[in-house]
Amino acid sequence: MHIAFRYRLLLPLITALLLIVGYPLGFSFWVSLQDYRLTAIEGATWIGIEHYIALLRNNSFWTALRNTLVFVATAVSLELLLGLSLAMLLHRRTTLGRNFFRSILLTPMFITPIAVGLMFRFLLNSQLGVITKLTEAIGLRIDWFSAQNALLTLALIDVWQWTPFMLLLLLAGLEALPEEPFEAARVDGASAWQSFWHLTLPMLRPTLLAAIVIRMLDAFKVYEYVYAITRGGPGESTETIQYHIYRVGFLYYRLGEASAMAYVLIAVILVLVVTLFYSLRRA
């Protein structure tokens, strides 16, 4: 039997992905249709879509989903804003020490998130935190992890770690833009702001779209900051979806229900990405 060269090249990868992604996904769906518990693995019984129906009235699950969406929206929009500003600054030919600034400013995105979470838990701690002590010294008392602030604080930590990623992509996008339109605009007497608004932004749109989608999907995975700092509290204010699934599956040992939650999560993400793509493509 002869298989074309290109498929022979592809075959190992496809096989591997089917094994480590395809099969687990299918298996997970099968698990979600059963009453699968870690304390009674052998005794799992088929219950059909009961888990999915139960999810409809599971408030904690929807709270976790809502928290995650708020977290993603806050973090990604701030990252976009900051990343774009920093990219514009670093893109200017005249800025001193561009390479130096770039290589340092990019470092947070390479660090393990659990370390980032623990560092900030320490820095913002109400008893030992240097940031808390410094803000108190200037008369500002901020309770970073109160019920109102905690989710925002986690989003800010995400901003610290992942703005560099935005910066990286946008800087690359800016560098790939052609020179001529900007020259022409300058000759016509356009202000820096005008040329940014009418030239840079529209031409940068594909990069912006890609950056937003990549960051969004990644922010959906937020887990380490919650695990390191708040464990979902106060109340349920920082319970994110990934943490919630971990809790149901591995602290309460209810794997069937956790799988059903994972599938609903995939559906939500899919809908979100498709809507985002179409609305941004059209705009």
Binding site: T39, G233, F250, L251, Y252
Partner: protein
């Protein structure tokens, strides 16, 4: 280029061969071969990474000298990691751990899932073991459906820890008397506790270092308040009563205490934070594990020059929440006999006495009544108070779904303290959730 690809290939091949010896199989003593100590055995023991682990590890050297054929290997890990790891070991074909410790909320769940070995026969055969000597409430935690699955190792009963010097200060006593018309005393009721706590707050020292952290911590602390108000999670018949009038009162007082007497921004505080606040002299009291007292009073301990000024009492209302670690043997271990030999030796009267003298938390009545322990340990008064606390204590939670109930109820409690839910709503929701968890098939 070739080198570049070759390297991972080589390492991969190496790894395949290196894979085999990664699992060490303990050698099982065959049941017919008489005493367990004929063939050399290695037992892996899971422990929580806290100071009491160091004491056990030190004592174990004596065990290994006495039983040269049994080799003990400890694996100490943080509490949060233990539940996953225990489960992984239960499910593995060969147990990773031959001797385990089980936290009180997990006992029913693990025993009924068939993960643990019943210990009744072992206990019956062990001469001079005196199982009845363990304090009653502790002993009962290890009993599931009439069989014993766990032997007490460590008590986590809660007590009221106070700065005795503040209560004895004539200046404070006079001010308190002037204000309230009564003497400044160690509180024995919730109302009294609140009064004292608010008083200290007015004097510039936080009244209580509270632990309202979501989940386990707030549930553990607040349940003492609940007992004091006459409430409970379930009544005698097993009905959920966590939304009754007593619970309402307990939660209202608890929240008032948090708002008016606890350090600000302490909504996420747990064990460490409150301990640090008390040790630093920022707070006058806390409800914490009874064995924290020796730590606080240790001359070179965390409290610095405040050491010696702390005292332990029963929690207001008298009845305390009881947590505990129990030793247990997983069903899938290959070395059950050797595992029991170790557990029996460690929890025997003699060894336990040594452990308590070195600072371990007491579990046996005879040890707490032993003048030698008083003298070499932390004094008669301390052990008598601990015994009193233990005898009037009730487990944090029982049942196969205790872990989930603790976390879910603890979430609603924390919401109420945060002010994002009313007391009534939070307790209603907690009760409903608890019923749902209990009634789930």
């Amino acid at each position: 280029m070739k080198r570049f690809l070759l390297k991972p290939l080589l390492t991969f091949a190496l790894a395949l061969t290196a894979c085999a010896p990664m699992t060490t199989t303990p050698v099982a003593p065959s049941p017919e071969s008489g005493p367990a100590s004929v063939q050399p055995v290695t037992l892996t023991v899971i422990m929580e990474q806290v100071p009491d682990y160091d004491i056990v590890a030190e004592l174990t050297k004596e065990f290994e000298a006495k039983y040269p054929s049994i080799n003990i290997e400890f694996e100490a890990m943080p509490y949060d990691a233990m539940r996953d790891k225990l489960l992984t070991s239960f499910l593995a074909s060969k147990a990773t751990y031959d001797v385990i410790i089980v936290d009180n909320p997990w006992m029913d769940e693990f025993a009924k899932a068939g993960f643990l070995l019943p210990l009744d026969d072992y206990i019956a055969k062990e001469t001079g073991y005196d199982f009845e000597d363990f304090v009653g409430p502790l002993r009962e935690i290890g009993r599931v459906e009439g069989k014993i699955y766990g032997v007490p190792y460590y008590n986590y009963a809660l007590g009221l820890i106070v700065r005795q010097d503040l209560f004895d200060d004539p200046d404070y006593q006079a001010k308190f008397k002037a204000k309230h018309g009564e003497a400044l005393q160690i509180p024995t009721t919730l109302e009294g506790y609140l009064k004292v706590a608010k008083f200290f707050k007015e004097q510039g020292i936080h009244g209580i270092a509270m632990q309202p952290q979501r989940g386990y911590k707030v549930f553990e602390e607040w349940k003492n308040w609940l007992y004091a108000a006459g409430g409970n999670l379930l009544d005698e018949q097993g009905n959920v009563i966590i939304d009754n009038a007593a619970a309402q009162k307990a939660l209202e007082l608890y929240i008032t205490a948090y708002r008016e007497a606890a350090p600000p921004s302490s909504l996420n505080w747990g064990f460490d934070e409150s301990l640090r606040a008390v040790a630093a002299g920022e707070a006058a009291t806390m409800i914490s594990y009874n064995w924290m007292l020796p730590t606080l009073n240790k001359p070179d301990g965390p409290a610095g020059n405040l050491a010696g000024k702390f005292a332990l009492y029963e929690v207001p209302g008298g009845k305390a929440v009881l947590g505990a670690w129990h030793w247990a043997i997983p069903k899938n271990t290959a070395s059950a006999d050797a595992a029991w030999t170790f557990i029996a030796w460690l929890t025997s009267k003699e060894t336990d006495k040594q452990r308590v003298i070195k600072g371990g938390a007491p579990i046996r009545v005879s040890v707490m009544k032993d003048p030698e322990v008083w003298q070499k340990g932390f004094g008669q008064q301390y052990y008598e108070t601990v015994l009193k606390i233990l005898e009037d204590a009730e487990p944090l939670a029982r049942g196969t779904r205790a872990e989930e109930i603790i976390n879910e109820v603890g979430t609603f409690l924390n919401s109420a303290v945060a002010g994002s839910m009313s007391v009534n709503d939070a307790l209603k929701a907690a009760a409903e959730k608890t019923r749902e968890i209990i009634n789930r098939p």
